[in-house]
Symmetry: C2
């Protein structure tokens, strides 16, 4: 189940954003008591409401970060991939996890105990700054998330999501959906049905979706749709069967 880190694990961990700017020996020290776990699909590594005793780094695979709603449902909060870290802030504040982390596919996750981390911080405060920077990033994401949910329509969120998958400056580009459409729908606050229909509308502006392969005729157009006013887009987007 859980084991010491392999050389490959260390490879990934040393490049992780949360440790950016720390001296290699500091990183070594922080991850000394870390363990790594292989997860099968649907296995959980972090459970909402449980005491926060560690934080995590994704070494490989995709994890779904979700919350159980009062009404028994589930809300996708974020998706984590190789190189992402999560629950840093919870681990420090000694509270409980506010969300659940579930493996989407076969995944490998490193676990760094919170008590050790706090001891490390007392020795070298730079670690604290690194963690705060990482937390700040996460917060930025959440703020953007709130903004998108409040200010953009479903199609616009889909357009922005697709555009974010490509680094292309402009013009035509091909990309692959990173995970199930059901999960994409959840991440964007839509039902799978609505996501399908959003894709159908985007077909009209040169976006071709075939299983998990996507072809975009003009990524600038896609970004324009996302950036436009909610109502400005209306005429241009008719569903194409």
């Amino acid at each position: 189940m859980s084991s010491k880190l392999t050389a490959g694990d260390l490879q990934v961990i040393n490049r992780v954003a949360v440790f950016r700017g720390l001296k290699p020996e500091t990183v070594q020290h922080v991850i000394a008591p870390a363990t790594a776990t292989m997860l099968r699909p649907h296995e959980l590594i972090m459970r909402q409401e449980e005491p926060a005793t560690a934080f995590f780094i994704v070494i490989d695979g995709w994890l779904k970060i979700s919350r159980n709603t009062q009404s028994g449902g589930e809300t996708v909060i974020d998706m984590m991939k190789k190189g992402d870290s999560f629950a840093e802030a919870a681990a420090f504040s000694g509270g409980r996890y506010i969300a659940t982390a579930e493996a989407v596919n076969i995944a490998r996750v490193a676990r760094i105990p919170a008590d050790h981390l706090i001891r490390c911080i007392r020795e070298s405060p730079d670690i604290a700054l690194a963690m705060i920077a990482s937390t700040s990033q996460r917060m930025h994401y959440l703020v953007q998330q709130v903004e998108q949910l409040k200010a953009q329509s479903g199609v616009q969120r889909v357009a922005e999501f697709l555009a974010s998958l490509s680094a292309a400056e402009q013009g035509r580009c091909a990309l692959a959906l990173p995970y199930d459409k059901i999960l994409i729908a959840g991440r964007l606050g839509l039902t799978p049905e609505s996501l399908s229909r959003a894709f159908a509308k985007l077909r009209g502006v040169g976006v071709t979706i075939n299983a998990s392969k996507v072809d975009v005729d003009d990524i600038v157009e896609l970004r324009r749709i996302a950036a436009d006013d909610r109502n400005a887009v209306r005429g241009t987007l008719r569903p194409v069967r």
Copy 2:
């Protein structure tokens, strides 16, 4: 405009959540170079995209934390009141502010320079832990926000908002809306019109709104509406003129 802290300012600052658990002398040290500013309605103390050179504590009044959308609109992210602190994480990470803070009414805000704060942390790491704890709280709020926007209907968000204004365990209670309905609408991701209609629906379950005074017949019922499944509520909520 900006001035040294008054005795009254210190009163508030010493009780603030972000400094909870720190020794009084540590707090003294952190806020040594702090200044306080009086803000008139609509004045800004923090501007999105500007370099994050400080973090803030609200001494009095209400501030609106908002973001300018790409399409030229504005999204309310949060409302801050006396005793709240904000932009801690941004101040550390040396990036830029990700949102704008605007006074809603006459307000007073303390400003703690980031460079001094970082020096403090290197001296006593406990400050870092306090800041992380505070950031963690903020993140919890944002996660809940995302959850609410994705999982609850407008009326449900309104019900939850009203319920959160009262500490009452159960039964009848009276409460006051803390700020304009336009701002409440923004905070909940609704238009003012939709908020009005949501209020009209809640009238049917014993919620009376008169200007900024609200009377709730049964707060448990209100919480039930918020916690129910999006669809379960449907029959029970018809608008009452």
